[in-house]
Symmetry: C2
Subunit: 246 residues, 2 copies
Amino acid sequence: MDFRSISNISVDCVIFSLGSDGISVFLKKRILHMFSDKLPSIDDWILPGQNVLKSMPIEYSADQVFKESVGLENSYKKQFTTFGNPDRIKSKKDELWLKSKGSEARIISIAYYFLLPKNRLDESIFNTASNGWFHIDNLPELGFDHREIIEKAFQELKNKAFSQPLIFELLPSKFTLNELQFAYESLYGLTIDNRNFRKKVINKPYIISLEEKRIMENAKKPAKVFMFSMDVYNQTKNKKSVILPQ
Amino acid sequence: MDFRSISNISVDCVIFSLGSDGISVFLKKRILHMFSDKLPSIDDWILPGQNVLKSMPIEYSADQVFKESVGLENSYKKQFTTFGNPDRIKSKKDELWLKSKGSEARIISIAYYFLLPKNRLDESIFNTASNGWFHIDNLPELGFDHREIIEKAFQELKNKAFSQPLIFELLPSKFTLNELQFAYESLYGLTIDNRNFRKKVINKPYIISLEEKRIMENAKKPAKVFMFSMDVYNQTKNKKSVILPQ
DNA sequence: ACAAAAGTGTTTAGTGTACACCCATGA
DNA sequence: TCATGGGTGTACACTAAACACTTTTGT
């Protein structure tokens, strides 16, 4: 095995999670102090990433980045776009940073997004000095073209969740209907009528009602919990009309 | 400008077109005769592709490949997945081929698909000795992991066309309703009721009825022609229910 | 006149949407 | 008893789906 990395190819990971105020993204602090006052000192945020290894699959590096970032494995992962235009390193800061890391100037970044289920998040990794979670609508100053990467990831996620049951990857395996509604509202920036939502959801065969109840934060009355069955979903999915969008 | 290529990064292009019998893919012949009888001689098909250039955007190479393949520009193009596992070159043939080209053993391929409108196809590029169009359900023997790449491209195309008006990229800018129906039937392997289809299509504001008529091949009665307006589409698209697939 | 694709209507079932109040529970 | 999220029903409009024959034109 050759565990050296390929110098011009990296993976960048956009890790999404559903926080109490909506969809959040995990970022790492980028700090570099310069000896010369003439050079800008760097203090902003970037996506977690690392170079691809010479003898391992691309996704191996993505999994490593995910594990090092949030301490977990086996979450939903999707490779969505590869970024690599020669002008994607635009700023003096980005140049300096790459030089300090000994990296090449033209880096191809294979970008993945991950979906982190709500209850699997290790709280200790929440906002430390070098890690942070940021609401998708309120991102901090970002290095390189990482804002563009995040926006693209979010768009791809929304598109995909439109036709596949991705939403459940953001929720605990047992969830309440109001949690599911909140996930949709957060992801798509909607407000949904609760009665219509419940009707629609409960009619899906792959949404299984459990006998269990759970008391949500701030609530007095316990709420029924449900689960999603991928088995039932795969069995019952019928090719609904595919003709003309909207 | 540095027009040398990056030795370990290439683009591969899956070019789709709508032929008279359905969706077709453009392939290039791969032939290599060996001096030794012990080595297999290569005679199969591969996707058109080339290496990424040192100082140009990735899509520049994709556009070049497309132009060299079918002699056209400005068709719909989508980067969909990057392939690069170390074991994607599995066969002796693939190894020999790469050696004969002086390429590295670990190549990252950034894959694009293109949609070629029906009437824009230069017939002279149809099946020559080194080029061929193959029905998506009847592909020949393929080199490398190119069958996998084509299947993935086709899946991504179908998914995307489900929520975006991609189907029109496969048709001439003026088309008949039966042509549009045939495009859907070919893409999704459906048979659609013609009366219901016409009703549904004619009700879309972005499908514009033209005063023109056209006599289709084998037909006697001329057919009305329609166009798709992206302007109207963008103006009128309403966020239809996004809750739960199927 | 015949062959071939173009074009047309109605009925029924199901789904989406608008809308406002009571329920169960813990504090 | 009050505050909080949990949970419920009806009416109307629209869309999807099933189904078969007539029209127009070129040969």
